[in-house]
């Protein structure tokens, strides 16, 4: 009985030590991957912020445009008719 216990314990120690090393390597690998992913997310957030800044500037410019300067004139008469969806999805036609 003691002959088997000592080798068993020795094997257990070796297995635990190996497991510990494997877990450490996995942790480091995971941490590296997580750091890269977080860095990528933050870079993307910054790029999104820059895009949104451009978006606001573009919308500001478009909103400030006067239709008259683009050649549009005030309509002389406006009429409204009910729409009818008798075409493919997304299209609707007035009347008919």
């Amino acid at each position: 009985m003691p002959d088997r216990i000592i080798p068993a314990l020795g094997f257990s120690c070796g297995a635990l030590a190996t497991t510990y090393l494997v877990l450490m390597v996995m942790t480091i690998f995971f941490a590296t991957w997580q750091t890269e992913a977080m860095n990528s997310v933050r870079l993307s957030e910054g790029q999104i912020g820059n895009l949104e800044t451009s978006y606001y500037a573009a919308m500001d410019h478009a909103s400030a445009l006067s239709p008259a300067t683009l050649g549009f004139v005030t309509p002389t008469r406006i009429a409204f008719v009910p729409s009818a969806s008798n075409a493919s999805a997304g299209l609707s036609f007035a009347g008919n």
Binding site: T35, G46, N50
Partner: protein
């Protein structure tokens, strides 16, 4: 022998078991509880950094289709610094750096001359691409560090509502105004504390070991502000303020049924991306922190109070003498003209102060005070913005008839714009006031979104009363609109029925009484009148060259109305309101 051997084996087994538990626990603490701290440390291995990297939650605007657009976010880039001791040729370094980024030569050479200082910052907020390019040059003595900072992509839009970040008295970089302050605990990101003693952490702080309470509150703030509507409002406010050289022009667009604010701003304002060059005078939010005597837009509430209390009826008439003399004071119509026997509706159509005073007299002091209090005037609205003040209604705590008469047309009492719109919106919401608010939800890191609950609407008027007053206000708008369209043919009459009222109030003279030629203009309206979706309050303080609010604020109100009708595709009203005869 055998028994002692077994005993030693058990001890050895126990020791191994303890070591296993220790290692597993250590892995748990390193990877799970302190993972973010190690990640932040590892992040700095990309380039060196001598300070904590900044992080904070995002504040979102919401487009009409529900898409979230950042109003306050975090930008990532670099800061460029130098170690003067390592720089052998400052001229060469300046030439190389200035080819990548704009550099002030005097500032650079002054910094480069400080050879005893190992760290001199040259430029902050350098773009990621430029920072990478400079880093790739490997210039000796040049330090390139990752930097993150707060970015407000919308610039000056809703700046006073969003707020800004600054150091407080405890040297903490926190929200100092607006939503940044109100929701600071949600937006701030605390780096987790690093406790070296595993056993101290395990046994001393068991309740915080598994879940840090602060982390569970962290999230992003979603607002109801629609960025394109906000932009349109800002353009109109600036145009009015510039044209009439006012001291301040402001506006609020609100959903009268829910209290959700779609747009709000004042002009002048500031750019939160450039605080150093902004005027601190404009850092506060006048919409919740300033009070004004709003003038005749109060008449719509006086009419509602009179009808709701039964003091007057819609078909009643009164004798308009042009001026009255309560308590020896003189209260007159704007034009001093007596109109004789006048129907109730004309009090709003022609904005008659004598008529409003008549309603106040019919109601009595207690009833008038009761309704003004029920409408929330003189108390905080509960809006989720810091620094809200209450209006001044002290005149309604006296027994002087003149105080109640003047209060009936919005003079002698002062309220904040947010108080005013909440009260006025009662007529747009079947007689119930709502809690105005900016934030609608919190978006947490785990992906869940929690809707923020606000108090239920409070019924002040009967729905029938609100409907009667709305019908009256609908007849007011076409007259003002026609005048504005005559001055600016590009203006179009909105295709929906609009309930509206203007207000022109005299401004208090600090030396007593009121100025005779300095005014506060206001414009209040909501539409579509049969089922209001939008309520707009505009004001401009001390405009020059125009006496009445109809001359300054009708045009921007119509512009905003037409914009909202088109943008939200509101269907046209089947029967447009005719222009009243008195407009001719």
């Amino acid at each position: 022998m055998r028994r002692s051997f077994r005993f030693r084996l058990r001890i050895l087994g126990g020791v191994i078991l303890c070591v296993v538990i220790f290692l597993i626990g250590r892995l748990f603490f390193i990877q799970i509880l302190h993972g973010s701290t190690y990640a932040a440390k590892a992040n700095r291995q990309y380039v060196s950094s001598s300070q904590e990297l900044y992080d904070r939650g995002t504040i979102y605007f919401t487009l009409k289709d529900g898409t979230l657009v950042s109003a306050a976010t975090i930008a990532t880039g670099y800061l460029i610094a130098i170690d003067p001791e390592e720089i052998k040729s400052p001229e060469e370094v300046y030439t190389e750096l200035s080819s990548q980024i704009p550099l002030d030569s005097a500032a650079f050479f002054t910094a480069a001359a400080k050879v005893e200082d190992p760290y001199e910052v040259l430029v902050h907020h350098v773009s990621y691409a430029t920072g990478q390019a400079i880093s790739a040059l490997h210039i000796p003595g040049v330090i390139v560090e990752i930097e993150r900072w707060r970015l407000y992509p919308a610039g000056t839009e809703a700046a006073q509502t969003l707020g800004f970040l600054a150091y407080n008295s405890e040297n903490q970089y926190t929200g100092q105004a607006g939503l940044e302050e109100s929701y600071n605990t949600v937006l701030e990101r605390n780096s987790s504390g690093f406790i070296g003693n595993f056993f101290a952490e395990l046994f001393a702080n068991l309740n915080t070991t598994a879940v840090h309470p602060q982390n569970s509150e962290e999230g992003n703030v979603i607002t109801s502000i629609e960025p394109l509507v906000e932009q349109r409002l800002d353009q109109d406010l600036k145009a009015v303020n510039d044209e009439y050289k006012s001291t301040e022009t402001g506006g609020i667009i609100l959903n009268p049924k829910t209290g959700a604010i779609i747009a709000l701003d004042t002009y002048p304002t500031f750019n939160p991306n450039d605080l150093a060059n902004s005027n601190p005078q404009y850092f506060g939010n006048p919409l919740v922190q300033h009070e004004y005597e709003f003038g005749s837009i109060q008449k719509s509430l006086t009419m509602s109070s009179g009808l709701d209390s039964g003091a007057i009826t819609p078909d009643e008439t009164y004798n308009d003498t042009g001026c009255i003399h309560p308590n020896g004071a003189k209260v007159c119509n704007f034009d001093l003209v007596a109109r004789g026997i006048t129907p109730m509706i004309q009090i709003l159509d022609q904005s008659l102060n004598v008529g409003a005073a008549f309603i106040a007299t019919q109601m009595g002091h207690a009833t008038q005070r009761k309704y003004d209090t029920a409408l929330g005037l003189g108390e905080k609205t509960g809006i989720d913005l810091p620094g809200e003040i209450t209006g001044k209604l002290q005149n309604l705590n006296t027994n002087q008839d003149v105080n109640y008469d003047t209060a009936s047309f919005g003079q002698g009492i002062a309220v904040t714009p947010i108080e005013m719109i909440r009260a006025l919106a009662a007529n747009a919401n079947q007689g119930a006031i709502v809690t105005p608010h900016v934030a609608t939800a919190i978006q947490y890191a785990d992906g869940t979104t929690k809707q923020i609950a606000y108090p239920a609407p409070i019924q002040v008027f009967k729905p029938a009363t609100a409907a009667i007053v709305t019908h009256m206000l609908v007849t007011v708008f076409p007259c003002d609109a026609r005048i504005a369209m005559a001055a600016d043919p590009s203006l179009l009459m909105p295709i929906v029925n609009v309930a509206a009222k203007t207000g022109t109030a005299q401004i208090v003279n600090p030396q007593g009484g009121y100025y005779s030629n300095i005014f506060f203009h206001s414009f209040w309206g909501y539409f579509p009148a049969n089922d209001p979706q939008f309520a707009i309050l505009l004001y401009t303080n001390r405009p020059q060259g125009v006496e009445y609010a109809s001359g300054t604020l009708t045009a921007p109100f119509m512009d905003l109305t037409n914009f909202l009708v088109n943008y939200y595709q509101l269907p046209p009203t089947s029967t447009p309101t005719p222009v009243p005869a008195f407009c001719d």
